[in-house]
Amino acid sequence: MKKKEIFDRRDFLKVAGIGGVVFASGLGFFPALGGIAKAAGRKSEDFYFLQLSDTHWGFDGPKVNPESKNTLKKAIESVNSLKFKPDFIVFTGDLTHTTDDEHIRRARMEEFREIIKGLNVQNIKLLPGEHDASLDQGAVFKDVFKSFLPGDTTYYTFIHKGVHFIALDNVSDAEGAVGDVQIAWLKKELAKIKKDAPLILLTHRPLFDLKIEWDWATKDGKQVVDLLLPYKDVTVFYGHIHQENHHKTGHIVHHSAKSLIFPLPPPSPGGSTQRKAPIQWDVAQPFRGLGFRSIQEEAEKVEEIKEWPVVKG
């Protein structure tokens, strides 16, 4: 992929103006995958995928997002209007906003499933968030989205153009844990992967303690991170916190995506009693905080993470 093409694409995304966008390349312009081809000793094969997160379909709060019934659809229009199609799209959880009524919860998931049929890329990976799965250990999610899941679990792996992806479920346990069963599964999966192979983890909650007071953590996330540490090239993409955040645990890089429903405040210093209240809609700046990001790395040199303003479609 030539540099000019990348910039053309980025400029186009600026116009599209919505969603979390991640570029990936074996030529080293993306930090998560920097040097993939070299490390794996194979010919590079560029690709990019989109990460959308926390769409909370069914949320109703005019002060927070008066466009809640349109935001996901606008995002899909933006994705569909991209000049270059992504290889696949991943939704990192909280596809729907929860409710105690199982029938309504199911209906929201079914509506979401219908809406994303409008995407012109149908290679779609789904992860649950706590709003989708915590009230019933993922039962309805697995039923409604079974055609998107490779097996009968909400955690899975896939390989795309030589890159290993692992989707972890840290929400079906209402206490926000991955759990012993999944950790045992993860060990087996990791054993199949070379230590120098590029590895991308997809989760909903952060795997590190970003802010425990706000439930921005995974109860047994450290066990997962410890399992990943022997791997040289690991990047985690997650959602949950409704904003961009970049963090490193050792050499492992963690990137959170913005939400497509409302932004949350940045994590205040540990122990603060500040509330985690959604940031209210700004009439003067609609969709503020719901922007997209492009990430690129110039070959082995500069890592660039740039935020683009949201433009109301």
Partner: protein, 122 residues
């Protein structure tokens, strides 16, 4: 034979010591201040707990509806209570300040609002 008697005596004294420790602990917990909190979607009542530095307190948490959590990260406290049940957690505050707590079991739309704080004063 004498050696065996000596071992028995030591064993007896150890058991006596352990029993007295347990009795002492139970006695002290009986005399400690108990703060009762109810938990239900999506609130604690009361949501602000005032404690004194160094004063042992037993927090008695009762859930009125479903499973909830009670987590105070800054004080290293965490417990979970099932619907209709009561659980106790003991705390001896060793620092002054305000320490937020929250429900650590996702309990529905509004879970994020299920918070409170412990205020420890001198």
């Amino acid at each position: 034979m004498k050696r065996l008697d000596k071992h028995k005596t030591v064993l007896f004294l150890v058991m006596l010591f352990l029993v007295s420790l347990q009795l002492g602990k139970a006695k002290s917990e009986e005399t400690e201040r108990i703060i009762s909190i109810t938990a239900k979607k999506f609130e604690y009542n009361p949501s602000i707990l005032e404690l004194k530095l160094g004063e042992p307190v037993v927090i008695e948490l009762k859930s009125l509806d479903r499973k909830h959590g009670f987590k105070v990260p800054a004080l290293g406290l965490e417990t979970v209570v099932k619907g209709g049940e009561t659980t106790r957690v003991r705390i001896v505050p060793d620092k002054v300040g305000e320490f937020p707590f929250h429900c650590s079991v996702f309990c529905g739309s509004g879970h994020e609002d299920m918070v409170g704080k412990i205020v420890v004063k001198k």
